[in-house]
Amino acid sequence: MTIEQCYAFLNTEPGPGFNLCYTLVTVFPALIKAIPISLLLLVTSGIIGNLLAVPVALARVSRNPLLWMPSYSFILLMRGTPLLVQIYLIYYGLGEVFGQMTLFGQPLMKALPFLRDGIYYAIFALSLNTAGYTGEILRGAILAVPHGEIEAGRAFGMSRWMIFRRITLPRAIRICLPAMSTETILLLKATALASTITVYEVLGTAQFLRSQSYRIYETLLSAGIVYIVLVFILTRILNWLERYLNKDRERPLAIPMAQTVKP
């Protein structure tokens, strides 16, 4: 079948069956074109969120109530409310606030048209959420750094900042690497929520096609396949990264382990 025939078939027969042609010709190319948007959301909010997580975790382990209390409530808010509520609150809430503001006598939304784009709000919300979750993970890791190493740093006459930069942070990051890769996979899945505020990433595109063609199996199943492949590839990359960062402490081949396993 040629593409024209395919479309002729599509337009004349909106039946309930599975249309493979529509899936391959329309849905998959559109979803693949949308993958960069999903990855953009993942990478930008991952980077911003993880960078924000460092001060959040540091404030959380501080003994000063002016530092740990705001950090504690931030983490509780981020982890205690659904991400979708946070996204709505930021998208519609900031929209409400921005809608009342003016810039140089013009409505703000008109002066800065990019503020209408949902993707910035999605990145903002996902970054804050990641900062909350990763901050809590990083806090646990900072507390897990062996005390002796910090004391050794002190004995060497390192300043507090140097101890943090050279000992605490690298050690903590290494300790929380496995939890961080889980968190990254969860973040990739969370980017799908951006589709609810008109960001056309993979799920958003699938929903758009679904509402256009009323074909549910083709669009939703294809989106599922795309996400499964993305998660599979990302897991591979993260496993490789984890091994790469732990290269110097790689265990010898698991021979002692093998002996303990029952034949």
């Binding site: 509520v85 519609y92 809430g93 939703l220 996400y227």
Partner: protein, 241 residues
């Protein structure tokens, strides 16, 4: 100029305010969370059983289930269950003459099915780890006493498994209450849907989404306190170092 009425008056109970809508939403959220969690519990036990049974085919089935469910975003799974599952069921029932053409799956059923399916996968691995944490000798001892499999499960495995599984189960309960917000997308009248409809009617987005978020935060905090008690209760009798 008449003074602006307080935003909290919008939360009044009755036709004017949205208090009753929020209360209905809160109850619906709790209902789907509890029902979904019960379904997830059953699916988790079945999944853990399939993975630990020793039969290769059963293991494959359990493994495929957990891998696929964990790789697909929750929102997409909910949409899949609602639209695809709904249409498939309609076709099936209409096909065999059990239902009329206007048969439809309710958002409640779809929400419970989707949440149960998602969290069943997570609970599968939690239960699997918990069962593996039980000393092997105990199960062997039960077998030596001549206990049959259901009795072994009821008397030896289940009570100890629950103790190991409670922290993980608590986390998944917190997650299921939060993910129940996703079913607002398929038009189920839960908490976030109430907030959404109130916000779009009055244009007070910041206020109503904040109230919705605070309700979820309340559920989380109450659950966390309850979970602490449950954890303490299930680990009573365990010697602590």
């Amino acid at each position: 100029m008449n003074p602006q009425p307080s935003l909290w008056s919008l939360m009044a109970y009755g036709a004017e305010g949205f208090g009753d809508e929020f209360l209905t939403g809160l109850l619906f959220t709790l209902q789907i969370s509890v029902c979904g969690y019960i379904l997830a519990f059953v699916l988790g036990l079945l999944g853990a059983g399939a993975k630990l049974h020793g039969n290769k085919a059963l293991y494959r089935v359990g493994d495929l289930y957990t891998t696929f469910i964990r790789a697909i975003p929750e929102l997409l799974l909910i949409l899949m269950v609602f639209y695809m599952g709904g249409r498939a069921l309609t076709q099936l029932f209409v096909g065999i003459g059990l239902a009329d053409r206007d048969f439809q799956v309710t958002p409640f059923a779809a929400a419970v099915a989707a949440l149960g399916l998602i969290y069943g996968a997570y609970l599968t691995d939690i239960f699997r780890g918990a069962i593996q944490a039980i000393p092997k000798g105990q199960i062997e001892a039960a077998r030596a006493y001549g206990m049959h499999a259901p009795m072994r499960f009821r008397r030896i495995i289940f009570p100890q498994m629950i103790r190991y599984a409670v922290p993980g189960m608590g986390n998944q309960w917190l997650n299921i209450t939060k993910d129940s917000a996703l079913v607002s997308v398929i038009g189920a009248f839960e908490l976030l849907f109430a907030a959404k409809s109130a916000a779009s009617q009055t244009k007070h987005y910041v206020f109503f989404y904040s109230v919705g978020g605070l309700c979820f935060l309340g559920i989380t905090i109450v659950s966390m306190i309850a979970l602490q008690h449950i954890e303490r209760r299930t680990s009573r009798g365990v010697r602590r170092a």
